[in-house]
């Protein structure tokens, strides 16, 4: 035992040189975000802001994306003074507002005469009772990615920007075979049924889920035909859609716009070397072509921050035209819309050059993946639970939808 103690002690001595030095700089802005070291737009934003604001350093606090909710909530509840928190999900801001951690922004907007018109109304999702609590800087909507090489090999025409879901299903089945899958659905709820909100009428919080039936049936038809990998196996293996599509044997993939920058990077690194393009997601019968759904990413000021004015300068820059240009320069889609920004988006190196892909950049309508609504966190849990039952074929879509309807109704009794 003595030898062991000696060993342990010397170990401690050795390791005590691990310092806890904290850099003190008055002009440092701490920004809490996720995947900071590898997300291209975060790197581009930091570079651009620091270049145009000499003397200010942006310091990212990097949190693992899957732990973002728990970690940020704990930090804020514990009285963390980091200046800016990025808003990953819409309900984050609702939560933080209720907890009193989000700085109200209307006064700043007035004081600096900040122009919100470039956000074309999306900023309303960050408002609680007409008070703005965060500035959106990324707006991702879903598009259809496709592998041009597989279409060419099969001699089938590329997807267009005006295609119904039934046409898409036929196309997917046509491209299936020889170890190739016609399409790919990630295991998320959104990948399978969120399309229902593209009509601008339905939302996932409207307490009636009958409208999901069509999409569940469509999915099951494709799974039965072997046109996509089965949910049960995907879920069990935890296969990531980015690796799946990069494998080169998947013809189509409905996915968020953020995947563009990943694919561009993959092409650069040589992880995948096929040609790809994007098209507008298919639409349901009677819904305008180019309609999709999406999600916002934004930034809020911590109410406990000690550099609120600088923090406002940063987040207003981030959301505005200059920040948007930085965001767009690496293939991500900013929330701010202007011609300059759209031009920047399509001129990114590695972005597909065909007209369809360029056309897909301008959606006709973008519904919110999850709206801001009462008890939305509870509804989300219920819908996701029943979704997993339907997808694993433990119950039929009809049964699952009935369960959703009943359980959500119970929440409001």
């Amino acid at each position: 035992m003595k030898k062991l103690l000696a060993l342990l002690l010397s170990g401690i001595l050795l390791l005590s040189c691990v310092g806890f030095a904290a850099a003190e700089d008055n002009k440092t802005l701490t920004v809490v975000t996720w995947d900071a070291t590898t997300t291209p737009y975060l790197i581009a934003q930091k570079e651009a802001y620091e270049a145009s604001h000499p003397g200010v350093t942006i310091e990212y606090v990097d949190v693992a994306s899957q732990d973002y909710a728990i970690k940020t909530t704990t930090m804020l509840s514990g009285g963390d003074k980091s200046d800016v928190f990025m808003v990953k999900e819409l309900d984050d801001i609702i939560k933080w507002q209720a907890q009193g951690f989000a700085e109200p922004l209307n006064a700043y907007v007035e004081k600096t005469g900040y122009d919100l018109s470039g956000f074309v109304g999306t900023e309303k999702n960050y408002c609680v009772e007409d008070e703005l609590y965060a500035v959106p800087f990324r707006s991702d909507f879903w598009v259809l990615y496709y592998n041009k090489d597989l279409f060419d090999a099969a001699g089938v025409a590329y997807p267009t920007n005006d295609m119904t879901w039934d046409e898409y299903a036929d196309l997917a089945i046509k491209l299936t075979g020889d170890g190739n899958y016609g399409t790919h659905y990630h295991t998320w709820l959104s990948a399978v049924v969120n399309w229902t909100v593209a009509d601008g009428v339905n939302t996932l919080a409207d307490r009636n889920y009958d409208d999901l039936l069509y999409f569940y049936q469509l999915y099951q038809k494709l799974e039965d035909a072997g046109a996509c990998m089965a949910y049960s196996e995907l879920k069990a293996a935890g296969l990531h859609y980015s690796a799946a599509f990069a494998n080169g044997n998947i013809a189509m993939l409905p996915m968020g716009y953020w995947y563009v920058s990943t694919l561009i990077n993959y092409n650069k690194e040589g992880t995948c070397n096929f040609n790809w393009g994007i098209a507008a997601v298919p639409h349901a019968e009677g819904v305008k072509a180019g309609s999709s759904f999406g999600n916002l990413t934004g930034a809020m000021i911590n109410a406990k921050s000690e550099n609120k004015d600088l923090a406002w300068d940063y987040i207003s820059w981030l959301g505005g035209e200059e920040g948007a240009a930085a965001t767009a320069s690496v293939g991500a889609r900013p929330a701010y819309v202007s011609e300059k920004v759209a031009a920047a988006m399509s001129s990114v190196e590695g972005f597909p050059t065909d007209e369809t892909s360029k056309g897909a950049l301008i959606p006709a309508f973008v519904g919110m993946e999850w709206p801001v609504a009462e008890k939305v966190a509870d509804i989300k849990t219920i819908v996701n639970e029943e979704h997993s039952m339907i997808m694993a074929r433990e119950i039929s879509p009809e049964e699952g939808i009935q369960e959703m309807n009943e359980r959500v109704a119970e929440l409001f009794e």
């Binding site: 401690i12 995947d35 693992a64 704990t74 509840s77 935890g238 690796a243 990943t262």
Partner: protein
């Protein structure tokens, strides 16, 4: 070590039976060991693949090309060395403090009579029963207010005084006959003397167990460091591992490679200490 009497007795009576029993036992153990190792084989094989090969279906046990560079990539992609240092620091300090303080406290619980002993002991056990998720937030608020947030010491003080160690050591001390302590008391030894000269030497196996468990537990802890350590220079291996799983991409081959590497120190600790399970013949000093 000489053969126990029983085996000699059986050996004399039914030699064939004994050999057959042995063979069956070994076969069973080997089968079980294989079953135990299968996931590790897959882990190592995956660590030598490309990410997209990891999940290729049907599964391949042997990679098409062995990508040994994965093992150098993990050190470049994230500051793994820093993570290793931090984790080692926490694990070693925690293990030391935990072993010392809990074997001390366990002696009081196991061999001393005092008021409130049982209630206090139940208190210890009760806190084990409350899931950390439930008191994490109050604990976090407190740690922040005393300035330990985002320091390695936060992890040290959180894990060094766990009820687990006290409970474990108390149970081991209980199996040491009380008569031994009483004899020592009559010989004029103080309670501290009894703890140091009788209990400690007799519980090497237990201490080795506690050291292994605390070390492994701290080494593999994820939630604690995830919540308490924020800056990159303070993160631990388990938190660092998750950096290979990102929102828009995942590098499972690198996770596997880093996991294999992080297995090594813990295995070394286990191998180094496990001889105490054979050596600790706790009763050699016991004569009535």
């Amino acid at each position: 070590m000489d053969q126990p009497l029983t085996q000699r007795a059986i050996h004399r009576d039914h030699p064939a039976l004994l050999i057959a029993a042995r063979v069956i036992i070994y076969l069973l153990l080997i089968a079980l060991a294989l079953f135990t190792l299968i996931p590790f084989v897959w882990m190592i094989s995956s660590s030598l693949k490309l990410d997209r090969e990891v999940f290729s279906y049907p599964m391949k046990w042997i990679p098409e090309t062995f990508r040994w560079e994965n093992y150098s990539l993990i050190w470049q992609k994230v500051p793994l060395l820093t993570y290793f240092k931090n984790t080692a620091f926490i694990a070693i300090v925690v293990t030391l403090l935990q072993t010392l303080t809990s074997s001390f406290a366990a002696y009081a619980f196991a061999k001393l009579q005092f008021r409130g002993r049982d209630v206090l002991f139940l208190c210890y056990i009760a806190t084990i029963a409350v899931p950390w998720q439930a008191y994490m937030l109050p604990q976090f608020i407190m740690m922040r207010s005393i300035g330990l947030y985002d320091t390695l010491w936060a992890m040290v003080v959180l894990q060094a005084f766990s009820a687990f160690g006290v409970f474990l050591m108390r149970q081991f001390y209980q199996s040491i006959p009380t008569e031994l302590c009483e004899a020592a008391r009559l010989d004029g030894l103080s309670e501290y003397g009894i703890w140091a000269r009788i209990m400690l030497p007799l519980s090497t196996a237990a201490i080795a167990t506690l050291v292994i468990f605390t070390f492994v537990g701290t080494w593999n802890d994820y939630m604690g460091p995830m919540i308490y350590l924020t800056r990159d220079q303070n993160k631990t291996i388990q938190v660092g591992l998750r950096r290979f799983i990102q929102e828009n991409s995942s590098d499972y081959h690198l996770i596997m490679a880093a996991s294999v590497v992080s297995l090594i120190p813990v295995s070394v600790v286990f191998l180094a200490l496990q001889r105490y399970f054979i050596e600790g013949i706790a009763t050699s000093g016991l004569k009535g």
